[in-house]
């Protein structure tokens, strides 16, 4: 059965704007993005929202619904009370272009700063031979749809704009972990994860994991293992001594 829902939606360009109230029809089975599309069709044709697949796989419709980072297409209206006012705002960590659309180019910049996969010079493409157990750990990280909600929710940059220079954010620290765990990647990434990409800023409060729509265990499987690898490299005298005595490369 349909009902009329109350919405408060952020409207504005750049940083300036305000929350505008709407009352809009909702039908059974709909998600928040469906309701925003109905608003565009009936009341606010200039309302800007980024979307694409409507299936939780493209990562385009990231927004904040009642203050929580969510995908608009994966947030069912049935999870709200019919009398509840639903507040929809753009992602708070990134500059607003218009209404619910943010400029996420910060993330592309951070992606470019990570050196790409670097195989040994004596192994040619087509000669890679890997066991499934060697690669399945990092395959979890390949599920990332780059919705950037982990970047958005991370308090290191959400609450401290000044840290954006030094901190790559969970999505890209996970990318570094993925490459560092790869059996054929030979680039030294531990030192640079700490020094150049700000791994030390992470205080493992797990918000990135909480908001990930792909349920990737970002903190437990990428960030903490990467922190432990950095400890091997920089802070553990026994591992350092062992690597010298046994000539073991980490």
């Amino acid at each position: 059965m349909g009902y009329k829902a109350k919405f408060r939606i952020w409207r504005g360009e750049g940083g300036e704007g305000r929350l505008e109230d709407f009352t809009v029809e909702v039908n059974e089975g709909e998600v928040v993005l469906d309701v925003i599309h109905r608003l565009q069709a009936t009341q606010a044709p200039d309302l800007a929202v980024r979307w694409n697949c409507k299936a939780g796989k493209c990562g385009s419709c990231s927004m904040e619904i009642n203050g929580r980072p969510r995908l608009g297409c994966m947030t069912r209206m049935s999870t709200f009370e019919e009398t509840e006012t639903i507040t929809v705002t753009p992602m708070r960590t990134f500059p607003v272009i218009k209404d619910l659309v943010t400029d996420v180019s910060f993330n592309y910049q951070k992606a470019r700063e990570i050196p790409s996969f670097t195989p040994p010079s004596d192994v040619k493409p087509g000669e890679y031979r890997m066991q499934q157990v060697d690669v399945e750990r990092s395959q979890e990280f390949r599920k990332c749809i780059e919705c950037f909600m982990c970047q958005n929710v991370c308090h290191v940059i959400r609450d401290h704009e000044e840290n954006k220079q030094a901190f790559a954010g969970p999505r890209f620290l996970m990318r570094i972990a993925e490459l560092d765990m790869h059996p054929y990647d030979v680039l030294e990434r531990k030192e640079s994860a700490q020094e150049d990409h700000g791994l030390g800023y992470c205080n493992i409060t797990k918000c990135c994991t909480e908001v990930c729509p792909e349920h990737i265990k970002i903190t437990d499987n990428a960030l903490i293992p990467m922190k432990e690898r950095v400890v091997d490299r920089k802070y553990d005298p026994l591992v350092w001594l062992g690597s010298k005595i046994f000539k073991r490369s980490s």
Partner: protein, 261 residues
């Protein structure tokens, strides 16, 4: 809702929402409960360290084990030894407090819990923290959290000693309720210790070629399964050690006197 501080020029490009959060759920409940839980552990631990009723044959309270000073009753001394001699006059629990205490203090789960509940950094996801600056664990003093693995080695030793205490109690008083409380505590302490992220890294997490180290890979797989339960194990073992410790002290004080105590 509180007002945020003045916005910087760069930040002005963000949506100018002047509230700390727009969350409508009870986001404050989890940090409040965590704060209460951790505070209860700290207050109890402070009292227990200075309480002298820590031994009643064959039970020794976990907060005071191993007992390593001459001031410990002969039956309470670990393997009958008293390496700290008579010069040590402080409570015996203080001697070993640093190992399990440091292990929990630097534990990846407890870090999350006290950063959220004590330091509010952040109090909950998408709720603004109150601090003007943030450098996390990138410099002193929090960079010292990186020594967690050394506390893990120490906690393994303490876990083994608590297991030994439980086995001694089982040998001397198999039908005692205290024996089974100590056994349950030892099991929870050991599983919490082995579920540690550093343990996971040490078993095989640091390797890139699991296939070349099948035994270590199996150990890593086992620890990974435990690691997924690290948070509940942290809480369960924290309460179990408090309950076991309090039980032994109540028996030692004569408060609990029933035949199977």
């Amino acid at each position: 809702m509180t007002q945020t501080t003045a916005e910087s020029p760069v930040r002005k490009q963000r949506a100018q929402l002047r509230v700390r959060t727009l969350r409508t759920d009870r986001w404050w409940l989890a940090p409040a409960l965590t704060f209460a839980g951790l505070m209860s552990f700290l207050i109890y631990g402070f009292w227990a360290i200075f309480d002298k009723s820590y031994f009643v044959d064959p039970y020794i309270a976990p907060f005071s084990s191993p007992c390593l000073a001459t001031s410990c009753p002969p039956g309470a001394r670990f393997l009958g030894l008293a390496p700290f001699g008579d010069w040590y006059g402080l409570p015996p629990g203080l001697l070993i407090l640093g190992l399990p205490g440091g292990f929990r203090l630097t534990c990846y789960y407890y870090r999350k819990s006290y950063y959220r509940s004590f330091w509010l950094s952040p109090p909950a996801c998408a709720v603004a923290e109150p601090h003007g600056k943030y450098t996390g664990e990138s410099r002193l003093p929090l960079i010292l959290q990186n020594i967690h693995r050394y506390f893990f080695y120490g906690a393994l030793v303490i876990g083994a000693i608590l297991t030994y205490d439980a086995i001694l109690a089982l040998v001397h008083k198999p039908g005692g309720l205290g024996t089974w409380i100590l056994i349950a505590n030892a099991v929870l302490i050991m599983t919490y210790t082995l579920s540690c992220h550093s343990c996971r890294h040490i078993t095989a997490g640091r390797l890139n070629h699991f296939s070349r180290h099948p035994l270590r890979y199996r150990a890593w797989t086992f620890v990974s399964k435990l690691n997924a339960k690290h948070q509940p194990l942290a809480w369960a073992s924290m309460f179990s050690v408090m309950i076991a410790d309090l039980y032994v002290r109540l028996v030692a004080k004569g408060v609990i006197t029933f035949p199977f105590a």
